[in-house]
Amino acid sequence: MSVRSTIVSEFERVAKDQKKTLALLSDDLVLLDSGLDSLCFAIIVARLEDTLGVDPFSAGEDAGFPMTLGDFIRFYEDAAK
């Protein structure tokens, strides 16, 4: 599965588990407008670390925090390279 599809399926799964209504996923969706809260993002980041083997949020490199879903996917694609 690609990084993109892994991320999208984690967003959908966590939204369902946490009973959140997920906004329509597109690259320019602002993460804080996605319907998910900090706890949801925390779980997504932990699950992605297990499946993709990377946690770019903890890497502390120069890249800023992602703001949109597109940023978020690139954040992981770059880290997984």
């Binding site: 706890l39 993002f41 980041v45 932990a46 699950r47 949020f57 890497a59 992602p66």
Partner: protein, 466 residues
């Protein structure tokens, strides 16, 4: 306790001056401190509240802020009701603090709430009143903290213990404007509120109903210069397109462990700002702030004789003695706040590496999920209810968004059903039990099925910190 000198909050405020230029901005309303010179938020009923033990239970923060300003020195006790206090604990709080008046922003008491002496409505619309502000009491400020289970602990402070860390003489080009993501009815937020008031500044109050972006927009519009929050608040801020709506000169983190990544990200996002991470707790007060941009704190802070705040490490945990610690607990918890030597055990475990101490989690494995405490035993008790579970160990997993998440290791009574290879179905079942019984942040983010758990000679499951 009667006051020996005229040191009420209102007296200190008026001494700082410029009251009409100083604002408190809520999400829906604002006031200047000057409005309170010949007006009141309490509908002319200040005198009725003199000498009483008052529960300040408002929905919004601005009415609470005004009530605290008006009532310090007037009330015998101010009990600060945090916004999420479960209704079932209100009667215990009222009885323990001998509350005989409630100040609320509602028009009438909640029908379900216990009856107390007086009910006074507090409004951000200041009505003209000839308020006699001579305070005679050294008011006890009661802060509530979440206990292991059951009712909250009630921690007694005074204005002087709360303000002990606040030094005058901020050097700024213009007037300071404070903002905080915290609620001012908890220790961290109250610190910022008092800093703003006693330091001659204005303040932007947050609102639980407002998104991170909306708060940042509002804070930016008011020109916030000093702003504080937990590392989790700041991570959320850095994910918001509104992050650049503020251009603070001072960024403060507290309430959770500040790791190097968040300090670096903040430095990159706000290059003009001084970034400091502070250590404080409701019981121990403000201990220190570190401004060197590095996680942890210099070992030289430990064991300084004659310092304002004395710190030591004993049995791995940080202990603090200063005039800023709380006075005592209210009620009978069978627990004293400080040891016989006057040091308060923070329960925060620290590790020395090179010449720096680093925080290593809480004693007893208490997990801090984005500022909310989780006691592992409480979650284990729920997991252990599942008929197939023999025992479980709930532990922390580090997380870059909320600092930590809850995860569980589970030992089953019999081997996993071969039809459910990795236990996906059973994990789902156990999580469902947890979701029905626990608030969201306490539900494990993942469950691992393990053959056994390490048990110590005491017969207890071995817990590791962080």
């Amino acid at each position: 306790m009667l006051q020996s000198s005229g040191g009420s909050l209102w007296n200190s405020l008026t001494a700082a001056g410029h009251l009409s230029d100083r604002f408190l901005w809520g999400a829906d309303a604002s006031v200047t401190l000057g409005d309170l010179v010949s007006g009141s938020s309490l509908g002319g009923r200040l005198e009725e509240l003199r000498g009483r033990s008052i529960l300040v239970a408002t929905r919004n923060q601005l009415p609470a802020a005004l009530a605290l300003i008006e009532l310090d020195g007037i009330a015998r006790r101010l009990v600060l009701c945090p916004p999420d206090l479960p209704l079932e604990h209100v009667p215990v709080v009222i009885a323990t603090a001998a509350v005989d008046a409630v100040v609320s922003d509602r028009a009438a008491p909640d029908a379900a709430a216990p009856r107390v002496g007086a009910f006074v409505t507090c409004s951000p619309t200041i009505a003209p009143a000839a308020a006699e502000r001579t305070g005679r009491h050294q008011t006890e400020w009661i802060l509530l903290t979440s206990g292991t289970t059951g009712p909250p602990k009630m921690v007694v402070h005074t204005l002087s213990s709360l303000a002990g860390a606040i030094k005058g003489g901020m050097t700024l080009a213009g007037p300071a404007i404070w903002g905080t993501f915290y609620d001012i009815r908890r220790y961290g937020g109250l610190q910022i509120f008092l800093r703003a008031l006693l330091g001659g500044a204005s303040m932007v109050l947050s609102s639980a109903e407002e998104s991170t972006g909306d708060f940042l927009n509002r804070a930016g519009a008011h020109g916030v210069t000093h702003i504080s929050g937990t590392p989790s608040h700041w991570r959320r801020t850095l994910m918001s397109p509104a992050a650049q709506r503020i251009a603070p000169q001072y960024v403060r983190l507290s309430g959770e462990i500040a790791d190097q990544a968040i300090l670096d990200h903040l430095k990159a996002s706000y290059p003009q700002a001084r970034i400091a991470h502070a250590f404080a707790s409701t019981e121990a007060g403000v201990a220190f702030a570190v401004g060197d941009g590095l996680a942890g704190f210099p070992a030289s802070l430990i064991g300084q004789q004659g310092a304002d705040v004395e710190m030591k490490v004993e049995d791995g945990s940080l202990r603090i003695r200063s005039t800023r610690t709380a006075v005592r607990y209210l009620g009978d918890h069978g627990e004293t706040l400080a040891g016989s030597d006057g040091f308060v055990d923070t329960g925060d475990m620290v590790e020395l590496r090179a010449d720096r101490y680093y925080f290593a989690g809480r004693r007893g494995g208490i997990i801090n999920v984005g500022g909310l405490k989780v006691h592992p035993e409480e979650v284990e008790a729920v997991i252990n209810c599942h008929p197939k579970v023999r025992m479980s160990l709930v532990r922390t997993r580090k997380n870059p968004i909320t600092g930590a998440l809850v995860v569980a290791d589970v030992v089953l009574k019999t081997d996993l059903d071969s039809a459910d290879g990795r236990g996906v179905e059973l994990e789902r079942e156990i999580l469902q039990v947890c979701r029905e019984a626990l608030p969201r942040h306490k539900v494990p983010a993942a469950i691992s099925f393990v053959p056994a758990l390490a048990v110590a000679e005491t017969g207890k499951v071995v817990r590791h910190n962080a």
